[in-house]
């Protein structure tokens, strides 16, 4: 049993990898869990040697509570009889937790998941059988979830429920499996049932029972035969994680915007406004996100000091106790950023972390943490984590404007409409990006140019092309390109202009003319409503957007371009050579 659970977890690791755990029923409930990658935790706790008739396993990506042993799944009730694992978010967990605590339940973790175990325990205590108690618990929770639950007092049964989070059942001969995706069960069975939203039920070794709204559903007719093996299976249906992560940006942006904690943003904004120096410290794509933010700060009469993390020593003498720093790292483990942050802390700088990983080193060592809610990113090249960072920092800018007494209604509306505009952008630019990728695939080099806040967008676009397609790309402020880089331009040299900053459009256009005159092939991301398109050899039309969200929309076609160029050149965009997702060496 333990080995089956461990192998399934390894297949699911792409859904999260900050902690892992298992629970088996074997004359009682045995739970083993901790923070760390699946392989580490499994070896440390001897998953493979666990025996039992039923088992649960989970690999976590923290949303509520940092990744540690207590917060790792499975979670149990007070008596340690019921174990539950959960993917998704239970929105009303705080009130349920309060209610249950009032009835004497003792909570161990900070997670939203644990309330499910206690709810079931509570209703069992009131005299219901486990399934009725499970159903009653489901009627109390709101949010997105895929849940599996076992009860040591009812050892041959596993209960499950789905609402908005994926869940499937693998139908075996003398066994059944509940899992988040198909490849997980393919080692054991090819027969699969997709559970639909609002459905719940239970499995036993020989039975699958599903119902919705109290009405049992026919199961036999819904069994699907998957004719391929786990090795052949794709990544949740996508050929590459990078494409999946670009394609799901509307969703990750929606989650990020909806999850913004305005009170925290306000606190940070006030600190920024009263600081002596404001540092923005980060590396790679996170640095580019920081630069987009840095371009907004002069509007608040703040002079930002952007610092490439590995270069922090240059600025060390400036660090002082009246200063504020924004440290940005997707993983929260980037060693360069952490080193810079420690140096700042020692000198009394107040640190705000912007990170995607709850409980990461960066979040632990900062005074305030702002989380982006992009979900786990597997592709090495940052895509959805970059856009969610820019969106989060744009919200921080809005909070600062608000603190200064400006009317920010228009900006808030801009943020709200961002997910839909991002969807339009992914839809309306993919074909052009693919065409351009075919053209670029034989090229050695390209320029990415822009002015104002479009410069960091150009830098991010160039970085993507280098990272996954291995084409040399250089980003420059368009005006500065006259001072040297233009010497390289010859017939057909690809030059990509980013027109995300409306204030600099006219001046950038004169750079287009300069490049064109020297034979460059001019490409540009332009707003769909503008007439700039006519002046470019290849315009990439992006939906019209406000100034704080335009950088996000304009980077999307550049991400697509890099992805398609990598595929055209026959490289695996998910695993670029020489690169690691999280850089933990100096």
């Amino acid at each position: 049993m333990g080995e089956i659970l461990r192998r399934a977890l390894e297949r699911l690791e792409y859904r999260g990898y900050d902690s892992a755990g298992v629970a088996v029923v074997d004359r009682g409930l045995v739970v083993r869990k901790d923070a760390g990658k699946v392989a580490e935790v499994a070896t440390r706790y001897g998953f493979d040697s666990l025996q039992g008739v039923a088992g649960l396993a989970h690999t976590r990506w923290a949303t509520h509570g940092k990744p540690d042993q207590t917060n790792a799944h499975p979670h149990t009730d007070c008596r340690g009889v019921i174990a539950v694992v959960h993917n998704g978010i239970i929105e009303n967990y705080a009130e349920l937790r309060e209610e249950l605590a009032g009835r004497g339940h003792v909570f161990r973790s900070e997670t939203d998941t644990e309330v499910v175990a206690h709810l079931v325990e509570e209703y069992k205590r009131q005299g219901l059988d486990t399934f009725s108690a499970f159903k009653k618990a489901l009627s109390r929770i709101r949010g997105a979830y895929a849940i599996a639950l076992i009860d040591a007092e009812n050892p041959q049964v596993m209960y499950f429920a789905r609402n908005l989070s994926p869940l499937i059942i693998g139908v075996g001969d003398g066994f059944n499996i509940v899992a988040s995706d198909i490849p997980t069960v393919l080692d054991y069975t090819r027969r699969v049932i997709a559970v639909r939203d609002g459905e719940y039920g239970y499995i036993t070794p020989t039975e699958v029972y599903i119902e919705a709204d109290g009405v049992p559903h026919d199961v036999a007719s819904r069994i699907e035969e998957i004719p391929w093996s786990a090795e052949m299976a794709t990544k949740g249906g996508y050929p590459h994680f990078m494409l999946k992560e670009i394609y799901e940006q509307p969703e990750s942006l929606a989650t990020t915007v909806a999850g913004l904690e305005w009170r925290t943003l306000e606190t940070v904004a006030n600190a920024l406004l009263s600081a002596r120096n404001v540092y923005i410290v980060a590396a790679g794509s996170s640095y580019h996100a920081g630069l987009v933010f840095a371009h907004l700060l002069p509007r608040l009469k703040i002079t930002p000091i952007p610092i490439i993390a590995s270069e922090y020593t240059t600025y060390e003498n400036l660090f002082d106790k009246d200063d504020v720093a924004i440290a940005i790292s997707q993983s929260g483990e980037t060693i360069d950023t952490i080193k810079a942050l420690r140096s700042m802390r020692e000198r009394g700088v107040k640190i705000t972390a912007v990170t995607n990983v709850v409980g990461s080193t960066l979040s632990r060592e900062s005074d305030v943490v702002i989380y982006t809610r992009a979900g786990p990113e597997i592709g090495v090249a940052a895509t959805k984590t970059f856009t969610t960072q820019v969106a989060t920092l744009a919200a921080l800018f809005v909070a600062a404007l608000k603190a200064l007494g400006y009317d920010t209604a228009q900006y808030e509306h801009e943020l709200k409409s961002l997910p839909d505009l991002a969807r339009k952008t992914v839809e309306n630019t993919a074909g052009t990006a693919k065409d351009l990728a075919k053209r670029l695939k034989t090229r050695q080099s390209a320029y990415y140019l822009g002015r104002g806040s479009a410069v960091p967008v150009a830098m991010e676009g160039a970085l993507k092309l280098k990272e996954v397609a291995y084409i040399h790309a250089e980003a420059y402020p368009a005006g500065e390109s006259k001072h040297g880089p233009i010497a390289l331009v010859e017939e057909g040299f690809p030059t990509i202009f980013v027109f995300s900053d409306p204030a600099t459009r006219e001046k950038t256009l004169s750079n287009v003319a300069e490049m064109k005159a020297r034979g460059a092939y001019t490409i540009g991301t332009v707003s769909a409503k503008s007439d700039i398109a006519k002046k470019l050899d290849l315009p990439i039309e992006v939906p019209e957007a406000g100034e704080i969200t335009a950088p996000i929309l304009h980077v999307i076609p550049l991400q697509l371009l890099a992805y398609f160029a990598a595929v055209e050149r026959g490289y695996d965009p998910d695993k670029p050579r020489n690169l690691a997702k999280t850089v933990t060496v100096e």
Binding site: R162, P166, I168, D181, I182, V192, A194, V195, R196, D197, S221, R222, I223, E224, E225, I226, P227, W228, M232, A233, T234, G236, G237, Y238, P239, H240, L243, Y247, E248, P250, E251, A254, P419, R423, E427, N428, T429, A430, G431, T432, A433, K434, D435, E491, G492, L560, Y563, F564, V567
Partner: protein
Amino acid sequence: MKIAPLVLAGGKPGLFEKLTGNLPKTYLKVGGRRLYQYAADALTATFGRVYVASPYPENAPYIYVEERGEGIEQAILTAETYLGAETHILLVYGDVYVEPAAYRTLVETAISAGADGAVLAVPRKATRGYGTLETKPGGLLARVGGESQWIFGGAALLPRDFVKTLMHATFYEALNQYAAVKKIATAPWGGVWHDVNYPEDILPLLEHVAPRYTYIASGAKVSPTAVLEGPVVVEEGAEIDHYAVVKGPVYIGRRTFIGSHTLIRNYTYTEEGAVVGNAAEISHSLIGERATIGRASFISYSVVGADAVVEPNVTTMSILREGRERLEPIEVRGRTYFKLGALIPRAARVPAGTVLKPGTGWQ
């Protein structure tokens, strides 16, 4: 869900009449297989069987469904009546070449999204003539139509009851009606996808389906002085004469004859029974079944139909690559080509010594 893979191999030949006569364009032979067989074979490898809807059933290892009426709607409706206990149809256009992983992508996307079906979404800038796919939250299909640059990629996983909608609606209308009430996921595909719409689309196809390994059939005769540089496939009964140089990827079909001193360059396909005369040179071209290439002819970026006779010393001019020479590209149907030779129809005869200008015969 039990899946019935179905390849739509019918349809009017249109511009392919020059190559396939009355037969649908999917009946064109490339590398010893008809175009639709690439999809049918890939689906057989995955699902163990495949239905092929076509007005011209053949003796191949598929379940043929004889197509009646016109249009893909009628083809699907007819095919549905042949199905057994299957609950879903995995529909694939026979004139689209796509890597087999795309079929698995469709099924897994549908199941992961908890959707009733899925459509393959392919990025494309020139969307005219295609169904564009607009999505709604969760990557679900909102509607077909609009400005999206993701087009319907000619492959869809659909529940069987979808077919009923086709009785009174076109395929895209039916998808719209269905997406309004059921969940259809979009499965974005960034890998190889090639639609053979017009004859000139054959040339890129030669690169996609080129041999990746070397195989010489036991009954093929390769003379000891011939040079074969892999990957080259030489089929049963083929003969490669003295001093021929074959630089792969190349496909030499059954019972073809490659004359002495020929230079057979990459992406050349000689189909069953073709003859290439002494000292001829061929690259990036499809030589149809039983066609003859006369001695010392030069054939490049061209398609030669079955039974055509290219007499000695014929030259097809293609054009130099962009950037090396400032030459005007050739325009065919609004698309520009920097390399394009000639289309020589089936059973045509090209007189000795003819020089064919770039882009001859495609319109």
